[in-house]
């Protein structure tokens, strides 16, 4: 007895698995964006998770449509995102270092001291910057209330 294999259904199922996997990675990346304690950790963890998840979703779409033109566009988007994501991460991270965004207090900065001394960034070791800013803002608000 000869059994017909339903290739369309198999293709759909493979595409489904890819899409669900990619979406799960995206969701985990979004939760991580909310949970992690420090800008640099968020940055280094998140952008690449989003890149991998997006690549998975796009691959699922390429398998589903099964047309060469769509596949070419999908590969173009994947290559483009995977080239530009680390460049953007590097530029934003560098801007943050220049901008004296504080590191997490458990970060080991031993080998980074030299660079920071050269660029006059010692203040960025101050881990209480957020709280200091908040207290000054509070004082401002209080002062404004006093004036009124």
């Amino acid at each position: 007895m000869e059994r017909e294999i339903d290739w369309v259904l198999i293709k759909d199922i493979i595409s489904c698995i890819f899409i669900l996997f990619g979406v799960c990675i995206m969701l985990i990346a979004s939760i991580g964006l909310l949970r992690f304690p420090d800008f640099y950790i968020r940055m280094s963890a998140i952008t690449k998770g989003a890149t991998l998840g997006l690549g998975m979703i796009l691959l699922g779409m390429g398998i589903y449509f099964n047309q060469p033109g769509v596949l070419l566009k999908v590969i173009a988007i994947m290559v483009f995102t995977s080239i530009t994501a680390p460049v953007a991460a590097h530029v934003i991270g560098r801007a943050a270092v220049q901008n004296k965004i504080p590191f997490w207090e458990k970060t080991n900065l031993k080998e980074f001291q030299e660079y920071m001394a050269k660029e006059h960034l010692e203040q960025s070791v101050n881990h209480d910057k957020y709280t200091v800013e908040e207290t000054t803002r509070q004082k401002d608000v209080d002062g404004a209330a006093d004036i009124e």
């Binding site: 759909d12 899409i19 800008f39 890149t51 779409m61 953007a88 560098r94 901008n99």
Partner: protein, 89 residues
């Protein structure tokens, strides 16, 4: 309604939750670079939503939108980063 469409709708709902979480970070992010990162993830999520919408409607023209959006997201985050560098000097 086939299994495939149900899967796609579930994926769409999960991506919408992603957008919501990213928007929360965008709102509370203590510094400007945090918001730029959130913007990056925002663009990636929107591209994912467009891709899944393309599959739901069987209309291949939307892929071009995803392509252009990925390009402009990159340009946006780069220009924001240069703005941050410039504004602090």
């Amino acid at each position: 309604m086939s299994i495939f469409q149900i899967t796609l709708i579930i994926a769409m709902i999960m991506l919408s939750i992603c957008l919501l979480l990213t928007a929360i970070r965008f709102a509370i992010g203590p510094t400007l670079p945090d918001r730029v990162t959130a913007f990056d993830l925002f663009v990636a999520n929107v591209i994912g939503i467009i891709v899944i919408y393309t599959e739901l409607t069987h209309n291949e023209d939307f892929i071009d939108v995803a392509m252009i959006l990925s390009l402009f997201g990159f340009l946006g985050s780069i220009s924001f980063a240069y703005y941050i560098i410039r504004v602090t000097k």
